[in-house]
């Protein structure tokens, strides 16, 4: 097979030349996209499945957010407060564990089948029974494949859900806005069932929802087309079709946007964004996203269990320098585990590059062997961050050696707790602060046998003793304000005591033609909304 991958340097150099040429020659728009169609260029090769019970990637969730409805939803114009979805009203009984939802009458799935409480109950039962990766968003409320039929029940137009503990209601409702909680058309899914799989194989590449758009065609890693559903209960979307095309190369996305062959480019590099910013026909919208970059130290290495040394490292990262140079426009300095936009997100940034202070802390730590390996994924952004750290760490006498690899390689070592330092990113799984608190600030069992490979605190062998109880309490707190302040406290402790140095939060520049209005990528907490777009 002929795969001629040139060296990264040659590639960067050529792209640099191209960018310079592009910057000098604004391309006049001539072509136009069809008036009733929204055309988006994005990278969609991360889609693994279109089944809401399985989809856990950005692009898949973007699609599903527009093809399915949930019981309660987030308002795309004001992300935060909940608005009715398929449920017209909901309440929590005095016992603190019994939730009831009244389903709106007269709503229909794309198939024409009416939406019933039974569909809503079955969808939750199905996700729990299939037990795919995102199932934990639901099973954390005490559901198991064995008990879920008894805990999630439908009667007439009422859905009743009983949780195992009196959780914070905001926590429960927020989880119901996640894609895994989408209401699936039971009849259609079961009509396509094979070997008792609850329609799983079929739903991997088809949809059976009630959202504003129905899936018209899907070519994996190539494109998908959504078509507006006539008579959608929120009102028909202004644009009849959404065409999302996989364009891997940012420079190509930019060219397409400048020519007017697409309406929105979602994966431009900072250079491209700067290049198109002077183009009168194009507007840039900067959205805060949920992804957090962090450096973590594995406490299985006794040196890294030394709090002074870990604190020193937090002073050895040139946060602002990176954010102002090669990360400009795509990341902002952020030093807490909850991204801005989440309930209770801490915005304080107490750490900055301070070599002298770090040297003092290292001396206090008494650690003399200062040679560490840093696991880092093999992509340019991360390698540049790692190089910056290698440089600043060296100024205080710490030698960093890189161990680079693909995401899966790095993850393999990370999950096995065999790394020393690791530069990684984390994105929230559902729009509630517990999503990150649960992984960064809670470690129920630090033993090797526990194999809590999905928990970041466990992966770094941090027992999280300082915050475990607080995190457990915050998820049960009924008062939302009090809950928010609890998360702020947890983050402050975490910032100081945990072997994590959170560094950056993602900002996603979305470049669009001037006539496109109302697009939301979902901010830091949700997925894209297409049905609000006009042009």
């Amino acid at each position: 097979m002929l795969i001629t991958l040139p060296s990264r340097m040659a590639r960067s150099a050529a792209l640099g030349v191209l960018s310079a040429v592009l910057a000098l020659s604004p391309v006049a728009g001539r072509a136009e996209t069809p008036a009733d169609t929204l055309v988006i260029a994005d990278k969609i090769d991360d889609i693994v499945s279109l089944d809401p019970a399985e989809s856990f990637e950005f692009s898949g969730n973007d699609l599903l957010n527009n093809a399915y409805d949930t019981l309660v939803e987030l308002d795309p114009r004001n992300l935060g407060p909940l608005v009715p979805g398929i449920a017209e009203s909901w309440s929590l009984a005095d016992d603190g564990v019994t939730y009831t939802f009244k389903i709106k009458s007269g709503l229909k799935f794309h198939s024409g089948n009416p939406i019933r409480a039974e569909d809503a109950a079955w969808s939750i039962q199905r996700a729990v029974k299939l037990n795919k990766t995102p199932a934990f968003i639901l099973t954390q409320f005490g559901f198991t494949p064995e008990n879920v039929d008894g805990l999630v029940t439908a009667s007439g137009d009422t859905l009743t859900i009983v949780t195992d503990k009196p959780y914070a209601p905001s926590f429960f409702y927020n989880c119901l806005t996640a894609v895994v909680s989408s209401v699936v058309d039971k009849e259609t899914a079961l009509a396509n069932e094979a070997n008792g799989d609850l329609g799983y194989e079929w739903l991997k590449t088809n949809t059976a929802g009630s959202g504003a758009y129905a899936l018209r065609s899907y070519k994996p890693s190539e494109s998908y087309v959504l078509e507006a559903v006539p008579g959608y209960w929120r009102g028909e979307p202004a644009l009849r079709r959404v065409f999302v095309r996989h364009v891997a190369e940012p420079a190509t996305q930019r060219l397409l946007l400048e020519k007017g062959d697409i309406d929105i480019a979602r994966k431009l590099t900072p250079t491209d964004v700067e290049g198109v910013s002077s183009n009168d026909a194009i507007r840039i919208s900067n959205e805060q996203r949920g992804r957090i970059f962090y450096l973590a130290a594995n406490q299985k290495d006794p040196r890294l269990a030394n709090p002074k040394l870990v604190e020193a490292m937090k002073y050895l990262i040139d946060y602002q320098g990176m954010a102002d140079s090669f990360l400009k426009g795509s990341y902002m300095v952020h030093q807490a585990f909850l991204p801005r936009g989440f309930l209770g997100a801490l915005e304080e940034t107490p750490y900055s590059l301070d070599i002298e202070k770090a040297k003092g802390l290292i001396a206090e730590s008494g650690v003399t062997d200062l040679k560490f390996t840093l696991h880092v994924r093999n992509d340019q952004e991360r390698l540049e961050m790692a190089q910056s750290m290698q440089n600043t760490f060296a100024q205080a006498g710490i030698t960093l050696e890189f161990k680079t690899g693909t995401g899966k390689e790095v993850l393999g070592d990370y999950r096995a707790r065999t790394h020393q330092l690791v530069l990684e990113a984390w994105g929230p799984d559902y729009p509630d602060p517990h999503t990150n608190a649960d992984t960064f600030a809670r470690n129920p069992d630090n033993s090797d046998e526990a194999k809590l490979t999905g928990v970041l605190a466990w992966r770094n062998a941090w027992p999280a003793a300082e915050v475990n109880d607080l995190t457990n309490a915050a998820v049960l707190e009924k008062d939302a304000d009090k809950r928010a302040s609890m998360y702020i406290e947890i983050q402050r402790i975490h910032q100081r005591a945990a072997p994590f140095a959170e560094m950056f939060q993602r900002i996603e520049p979305v470049a669009m033609r001037k006539n496109v209005e109302g697009f939301s990528g979902g901010g830091s907490i949700h997925s894209a909304f297409y049905w609000t777009v006009t042009k």
Binding site: T4, P6, L22, T37, V48, F56, A248, D261, L411
Partner: protein, 357 residues
């Protein structure tokens, strides 16, 4: 008596026997090649430091989910059992399901291969149409300006990174001049028309639209394929012209050429008929190899031009640890290679009478 009686029978059966032998030999070669291919792809799939289970589950998976998926994928079995199962499935045409697309690999390959086939064929036509004459002209006047030019163009073709040439081509011919269509196989609006109005017969847009008489879509598809095919064709041309030049110089120094010239044969006939005919024999192998290379899919060209072809599919599968897709794709590539080799063998026999004996 017995001798004379047996002679015609032997004469009659000899060609049939030879044919049978050849077919058997071919089948054996094919089988061995395929088995080798299967073994290599299998080994690669097992030694690369990518965990196929994590590839399916993502990083949040719990240990139980991980074990369950590992078992479901058969990865807990001994290696030789895994290989045996793999060969058995592959022989029955089942390369498994792609993890990424959730579709049978063969179906995926059938979807992406026509895009590559279309691109590679047009690129090779470009390469042959320009490469052979350029090589011949350069060979007839070694050291001349024309020769230097051909060599320069060839050298550039070898040394310029394809993605750079592609991006530059896009910038100039699509961005600035607007002569050709942009990335992708069709404009957005035509993409819908293609899906609605054109029955998919071959998956090659140019052929399907021509068969359906949809000339507007055909024109749009043509405007999209010209640039990527031109870029790939340029590389192919660089290779073919250099090879043609060196084969031709060799032939033009032969005695039969001098004889032909002495006999007063017009120079064009000497060069374009006598010499070229002899050059065609090795040239066919060159063209077939270059075509095969393009058919494997040029990853970078397909990336730059957002061209959903085989190269992109296999590369993406590789990065996603989607080994079923990688293996399936590799088998297709291997098959194409073998078939093209056979084809060039056949053509070789047609052109060169000596090979028929």
């Amino acid at each position: 008596m017995t001798d004379t009686a047996s002679l015609p029978r032997r004469n009659g059966s000899a060609p049939a026997l030879r044919l049978a032998k050849r077919v058997a030999g071919l089948a054996l070669t094919l089988a061995a090649t395929f088995l080798g291919l299967l073994a290599i792809t299998f080994v690669i799939g097992r030694v690369i430091p990518i965990d196929p289970v994590l590839a399916v589950l993502g990083e949040r998976a719990t240990a139980e989910q991980y074990e369950a998926a590992r078992e479901a994928m058969g990865l807990n079995q001994p290696l030789w059992v895994q290989f045996g199962l793999y060969v058995r499935d592959a022989l029955s045409g089942d390369f498994g399901k792609s993890l990424v697309t959730a579709k049978p690999v063969l179906e995926d390959v059938a979807r992406v291969f026509p895009a590559t086939l279309e691109l590679a064929t047009i690129a090779t036509i470009f390469g042959v149409l320009f490469g052979i004459p350029a090589g011949v002209i350069a060979a007839t006047r070694p050291g001349s300006l024309a020769d230097q030019l051909v060599r320069l163009i060839g050298l550039m073709g070898y040394s310029m990174p394809v993605f750079w040439l592609g991006l530059m081509g896009l910038l100039v011919f699509y961005g600035e001049l607007g002569w050709v269509g942009g990335p992708g196989r069709l404009d957005t609006s035509y993409e819908f028309m293609y899906e609605l109005d054109v029955p998919a017969r071959t998956g090659m847009i140019l052929i399907d639209t021509a068969l359906a008489g949809q000339w507007e879509i055909f024109a749009n598809a043509l405007s999209h394929i010209l640039l990527p095919a031109g870029v790939l064709g340029y590389y192919s041309m660089a290779y073919i012209s250099r090879m043609t030049r060196s084969f031709m110089i060799d032939q033009l120094g032969q005695e039969y050429i001098t004889t032909a010239r002495v006999k007063g044969m017009p120079e064009w006939r000497v060069v374009w008929v006598h010499a070229l005919r002899n050059v065609m024999v090795p040239l066919i192998t060159v063209i077939a190899l270059s075509y095969a290379n393009l058919l494997e899919g040029s990853v970078l060209t397909e990336t730059v031009f957002a061209w959903p072809g085989l190269g992109l599919y296999i590369t993406h599968a590789l990065f996603s640890a989607d080994m079923a897709a990688v293996m399936g794709g590799t088998i297709v590539v291997g098959t194409v290679f073998i078939l093209l080799n056979m084809l060039s063998d056949v053509l070789y026999r047609l052109i060169d009478p000596r090979a028929r004996a």
